[in-house]
């Protein structure tokens, strides 16, 4: 149980950093696609008796490569390209899993994760990956901030917009890959979006947005595990459900406060 909580907190921290960029740069769809793109990779790896993470990495690489190829070669907008690959990869994943004798069990495990079954070595890998993601985000804080602000500004400021965009996608992919074990490929996306979205609602700086997201993500992991233990519900899904509910609760509070501010009842941080 403690191991599950540690895994949940690690996922929350990684997802808070990366999710901030996903929310601010409108990368939600490609983040989602990555999360699903790893499915056939993981399924294939399991079928071949290889580590799932290896398969996930291959799946993510194919996804990113495929999206940029289709966007460059056809005049399709990137969301159509992403959508096509995403559905294709998902279908391929299900086809591969259907060859396995324990079809539904495997599929559910990949899609929704197995946070209660996280091994110590998984934790170490996750901690290492989270540290790496955090370090890259810290070093590249300036170009990443410029990219969120305006990609053209980044380019004119002498930071290659394409290179740092690719690096950002790599961080998203890394986070998705190491998190799928705990919350699954379907639900990691929820951890990527919900806490970061809460951060966007509350924070006035990028750093505080990430910190807010990490706190809300960790709280979701803790509450989710507690609830799932007591109510005997699926752990990963309960965590993501709590995170999503927290988002709507915060959204409601922020809107009520804004409405009250308009009537002059409370002041928001806006007026200086």
């Amino acid at each position: 149980m403690l191991r599950a909580l540690a895994a949940g907190v690690l996922v929350s921290i990684g997802c808070a950093i990366v999710g901030t960029f996903v929310v601010l740069r409108g990368l939600a769809f490609i983040g989602d696609a990555l999360a699903h793109g790893v499915l056939p990779g993981v399924a294939g790896a399991l079928l071949l008796g290889l580590p799932g993470i290896l398969g996930a990495a291959v799946g993510a690489a194919v996804m990113i490569g495929g999206v940029s190829l289709v966007t460059q070669r056809s005049k399709l907008s990137s969301d159509s390209a992403i959508g096509l690959l995403f559905v294709g990869m998902l279908a391929l994943g299900v086809v591969i899993v259907s060859r396995s004798s324990t079809f539904s069990g495997d599929l559910i495990r990949i899609l929704f994760g197995e946070i209660l079954g996280v091994a110590p070595e998984d934790l170490i890998l996750q901690a290492g990956a989270t540290l790496a993601v955090g370090a890259v985000a810290f070093v590249c804080a300036r170009p990443f901030l410029l990219l969120c602000f305006d990609p053209e500004q980044a380019q004119v400021a002498g930071f290659s917009a394409r290179r740092y965009h690719a690096l950002m996608l790599l961080l998203v992919a890394t986070t998705v890959i190491v998190s799928f074990q705990s919350v699954g490929t379907l639900l990691v996306f929820g951890m990527l979006l919900a806490p970061a979205a809460i951060g966007a609602l509350l924070a006035t700086r990028l750093e505080t947005m990430m910190a807010t997201a990490a706190v809300f993500g960790s709280v979701s992991a803790y509450l989710g595990l507690l609830l799932s233990y007591n109510l005997d519900t699926a752990a990963g899904a309960t965590i993501v459900l709590v995170a999503t509910l927290l988002f709507f609760a915060v959204l409601g509070i922020v809107n009520v406060r804004a409405a009250l501010a308009v009537r002059g009842v409370v002041r928001t941080d806006g007026e200086a």
């Binding site: 070093v139 300036r142 170009p143 969120c148 053209e152 002498g158 941080d269 200086a272």
Partner: protein, 283 residues
């Protein structure tokens, strides 16, 4: 307490003595498809160039080429004596639209601080000079009191002032602005014009795309664009009713005898009709 004093000057242009912009038979456009061809111009340091034309006339395309976002389709283009893009550190560029929108959690001062990123690179620490320039830029544009306010809580005009403060804090040798006065109120415009005059005085060159013909007349050179070069030269010579008619489609002279030389320009698609006094000095 720091005063809004101008901090010490920075290093000179990339290639000393080179004109800020030199274009020879330049064609600019997207994906090898030219939008405007045959542009020949020289912009020297301490001088200004205004680009005037309708939406889609090629103003923004030319600006993007100058700052290195678009490769020239044909011809030669030198910026500060180098190929466009190579001089990034010495250019301040304010684009027309900001992707920032309202979701980005940033304070006004964080936006202005970005101006110093090209100089300090990926991880270089901010110096006293950087902090002074940020404060000076924000004081000049009258937004220092809003420094710690979230960007999204500011009005459109205040945000535009913050963006212009960023341009000033860059201490650029070449300033490239795409319709910078949109959203500015009268007070903001006045501050903006004074600040740009000071930047020219300091030694920077200025290129501005504008819909404001009254402003363009005051520039050293005006380039009139309509998916081709209609005219290039001194404002009062270029911005004639005939040429504006050619560029914008509709020009109405004000028939009132006291308003001789005043005319109204209306765009085919976007923009407000404008009253222009192109011959204020002459008639």
């Amino acid at each position: 307490m720091m005063l809004a004093q101008e901090p010490a000057a920075e290093k000179p242009a990339v290639v000393p003595g080179a004109p800020s912009i030199r274009a020879v038979d330049l064609s600019v456009g997207y994906d090898h498809r030219p939008v405007v061809t045959g542009i020949d111009l020289v912009v020297a340091a301490r001088t200004s160039l205004a680009l005037v034309g309708t939406n889609g006339s090629g103003k923004s395309t030319l600006l993007k080429s100058i700052v290195g976002l678009l490769a020239p389709v044909a011809g030669r283009l030198e910026v500060l004596g180098e190929s466009p893009g190579a001089a990034a550190r010495h250019i301040a560029y304010l684009s027309q639209a900001h992707a920032a929108g309202f979701i980005l959690p940033l304070r006004a001062i964080d936006v202005v601080r970005m101006a110093r990123f090209p100089v300090r690179g990926l991880t270089g620490r901010f110096t006293r000079e950087d902090h002074d320039l940020v404060e000076w830029g924000m004081r000049t544009m009258g937004v220092w009191s809003l420094a710690r306010s979230p960007l999204r809580s500011l009005s459109g005009g205040q945000q535009q002032r913050v963006y212009l403060a960023q341009v000033l804090a860059r201490r650029a040798d070449l300033i490239v602005l795409d319709e910078p006065t949109s959203g500015l109120d009268a007070g903001g415009r006045e501050v903006y014009l004074e600040a740009l005059a000071a930047e020219l005085e300091r030694g920077a060159a200025l290129v501005t795309a504008t819909h404001d013909i009254g402003e363009a007349v005051e520039y050293d050179q005006v380039l009139l664009l309509a998916q081709r070069v209609v005219a290039l030269g001194r404002g009062r010579e270029v911005l004639t009713p005939d040429r504006l008619l050619d560029t914008f489609g509709i020009v109405i002279r004000d028939p009132h005898p006291e308003h001789a030389g005043r005319f109204v320009v209306a765009e085919r698609e976007h923009g407000q009709p404008q009253v222009v006094d192109a011959w204020k000095g002459r008639s």
